[in-house]
């Protein structure tokens, strides 16, 4: 065989695809505005998906980061408010106290440390600055369990708790809120109606939207109980660290047994407390992620169908307008398959380009949204995050839409009769 024939074979299929792609690009670029309007449905669909997913993913990533930082060997215990349809009734009837915490610490050998936490929202003030924040009453155990790193000063110690000292450790955001200097250790600030002395500042953590752990003040549990009373003291959250993450399940069971005894629950009565391990929390976050991904996928589906109909519509018009061109191509030897692929590749290229534009625009919109949320809602709102699968999925679906909705116009074009196509005015 001659060299030319071999070259022909090498050129083959992919050469033809490259050729048709070139033809498609020329047709698309030949009428840019129309191409843009044609793919607008796809552009908006992909834009919406990328914007929503990237913001949600950013929030999820930051949540995940926080809970993973918690460690696989820790768990939370809180009153089982879900027992009552009205949460206020739960708050009135349920108890989880410092005594419970001590009973668990003493009776369960698996427990390495336990930090009771009393949460309260309160006003704070320093000189002319007023604000509100979350007050966390806890013990010295909290520091090592939560792996708290200090920027300056120290964390709460046993003496602070035992002697009910009016001292506090502030989160990083409090510096801004109260316009405190970096060397604020020793400064006295107002929490509610009491005065506390700052003994330390926690390193900046970052955190999920609205829930920043930097926007907190830690005070001795005993001081908090003195200030907020017994009602608050009865509604603690216990942060527990076990010795070995591998025995988490048996530890949870022993802890439950101790608490049931403490609360005098009889056999068959449901637990009046709930435990949350990192694993469970992660599972819940993942379920939430999956559900929202499904909702997003449904939106994508709908918008892409709408976008696809737009593409089909214009491709049909395009086939009619270019009947003469099709006739010319057929007259010089284009087979049906050539014409079919030409229009199919054109619609796939068109929709994929729409996908690319939508991806870029969606990313822009999410950056803008995060910027606005940081200015308005929370300065620590997590950055938008676009996982690779979103990029691939959007482009894949955009291309698929072009393929599915391009088939009918392409088939129509390929079935034209050469003579009638040439005669077409």
């Amino acid at each position: 065989m001659s060299a030319a024939t071999r070259k022909e074979q090498i050129f083959g299929f992919w050469g033809s695809v490259a050729e048709l792609f070139r033809i498609a690009l020329r047709a698309i670029m030949g009428s840019k505005m129309r191409s843009f309007l044609t793919t607008l449905g796809i552009i908006i669909g992909v834009l919406a998906v990328v914007a929503v997913v990237s913001i949600l993913q950013g929030v999820f990533q930051s949540f995940l980061g926080q809970f993973e930082a918690l460690g696989a060997n820790t768990l939370f215990i809180r009153p089982n408010y879900e027992m009552f349809s009205d949460r206020r009734e739960g708050v009135r009837r349920l108890k989880l106290t410092y005594d419970d915490a001590q009973a668990v610490a003493q009776q369960v050998p698996d427990v390495r440390a336990i930090a009771p936490m009393l949460f309260r929202s309160d006003s704070i003030a320093f000189r002319s600055r007023h604000d509100t924040t979350t007050i966390v009453g806890t013990t010295e155990a909290y520091g090592p369990i939560s792996d708290v790193n200090m920027e300056t000063g120290r964390f709460l110690g046993p003496m602070d708790v035992d002697s009910r000292r009016k001292v506090c450790v502030i989160g990083h955001d409090i510096l801004d809120k109260l316009a405190l200097s970096d060397q604020c250790v020793g400064t006295e600030i107002q929490i509610g109606r009491d005065t506390y002395t700052v003994i330390g500042v926690v390193e900046k953590l970052g955190g999920a939207f609205g829930e920043s752990d930097d926007d907190r003040i830690y005070v001795p549990l005993t001081s908090a109980i003195q200030q907020y009373g017994n009602d608050a003291a009865n509604q603690l959250i216990l942060l527990v660290q076990v010795r070995d993450a591998a025995h988490m399940d048996s530890a949870v069971e022993r802890i439950s047994n101790v608490l049931r005894r403490q609360h005098g629950l009889k056999f068959g009565q449901t637990d009046d407390f709930r435990t949350f391990t990192q694993e469970e929390v992660l599972k819940q976050i993942k379920t939430f992620t999956n559900v929202s991904t499904l909702i997003v996928a449904a939106i994508v589906g709908i918008t892409l169908v709408v976008g696809g109909i737009g593409i089909m519509n214009i491709m049909l018009v395009s086939v009619t307008e270019r009947t003469r061109e099709i006739g010319i191509r057929m007259a010089v030897g284009a087979k049906r398959i050539h014409v079919l692929y030409q229009f199919l590749i054109e619609s796939v290229t068109l929709s994929t380009l729409g996908g690319v534009i939508g991806l870029g625009a969606g990313w822009g919109v999410s950056l803008l949204t995060v910027w606005i949320l940081r200015k308005t809602v929370s300065p620590t709102f997590p950055p938008a995050y676009v996982p690779l699968w979103v990029v691939l999925l959007s482009l894949g679906f955009a291309a698929l839409t072009g393929a599915v909705f391009g088939v009918y116009p392409a088939v129509k074009a390929s079935r034209l009769d050469p003579i009638e196509a040439l005669r077409y005015e």
Partner: protein
């Protein structure tokens, strides 16, 4: 011509009917034609007599309602659309009255068009198309689009496109119909030159001046051949 010439076209009793509502319009009523390689034929006849219909059948753009047609050994009347496309691509070059160039493609890209479907690689394709343009002295217009060219130049581009694949047969349907007489002469001179180089040419026209360039003239009326005569030697021309 003598029987020793190699037969390119063998058409027997070609009939083409067009359905017209309830009735049928008989565009061709039984046309038989034999063409040898290297011939130059003019098909003449009044408007509506079936000239274009016959040329489309010969050019494998259409299939006859009945009759047999063998082109370069292929039984065209039995072929499927894609086989016809392949035959058009390999064996036939078309030249139309209204040029039929792709408006968005430039001259050389228009000439390359048949080579795309012949699966010739891009570089080689471009080279062949430029050769065809050079042959017509149009290489300087290679990058021009059809709307940047005169009518005569457009028709020359179309002729280059018809030539580029080195077909057995060049078919021209009123190639000078949209051109002034001076340009028509140039185009006809070009076609005569192609014929002298060995190309087989079939030309449809209703102008005797144009038909006079062809040594063999076939007259057709109401879908039937009424005369088929050799009137001279190729290249002499009969125009003013």
């Amino acid at each position: 011509m003598t029987a020793s010439g190699d037969t390119l076209i063998e058409a027997r009793d070609l009939v083409k009917d067009y359905p017209m509502g309830e009735s049928v319009y008989h565009a061709l009523r039984g046309v038989s034609l034999t063409v040898r390689r290297g011939e130059f034929i003019a098909i003449m006849g009044p408007s509506g007599s079936g000239k274009s219909t016959l040329l489309h059948l010969i050019g494998c753009l259409d299939t006859p309602t009945s009759g047999e047609y063998v082109l370069a050994g292929s039984p065209v009347h039995t072929l499927a659309p894609d086989q016809l496309a392949e035959l058009r691509n390999k064996e036939i070059g078309f030249v139309f009255q209204t040029f039929f160039l792709l408006p968005r493609a430039n001259a050389v890209e228009n000439v390359e068009l048949p080579l795309i479907y012949a699966k010739i690689p891009p570089a080689q394709r471009h080279h062949m198309a430029m050769e065809a343009l050079e042959f017509l002295g149009l290489q300087t217009h290679a990058a021009h689009r059809p709307n940047q060219l005169s009518g005569g130049q457009r028709q020359q581009i179309a002729i280059a496109r018809a030539l580029v694949n080195k077909p057995s047969l060049i078919l021209a349907d009123e190639p000078t119909g949209n051109l002034d007489s001076k340009t028509s002469e140039n185009i006809m001179g070009l076609l005569v030159r192609l014929n002298q180089m060995g190309n087989t040419l079939i030309l449809v026209t209703h102008e005797p001046d144009i038909a006079a360039y062809a040594p063999r003239q076939v007259r057709i009326r109401d879908g039937l051949i009424v005369s088929d005569e050799l009137v001279g030697t190729p290249g002499k021309g009969g125009g003013s």
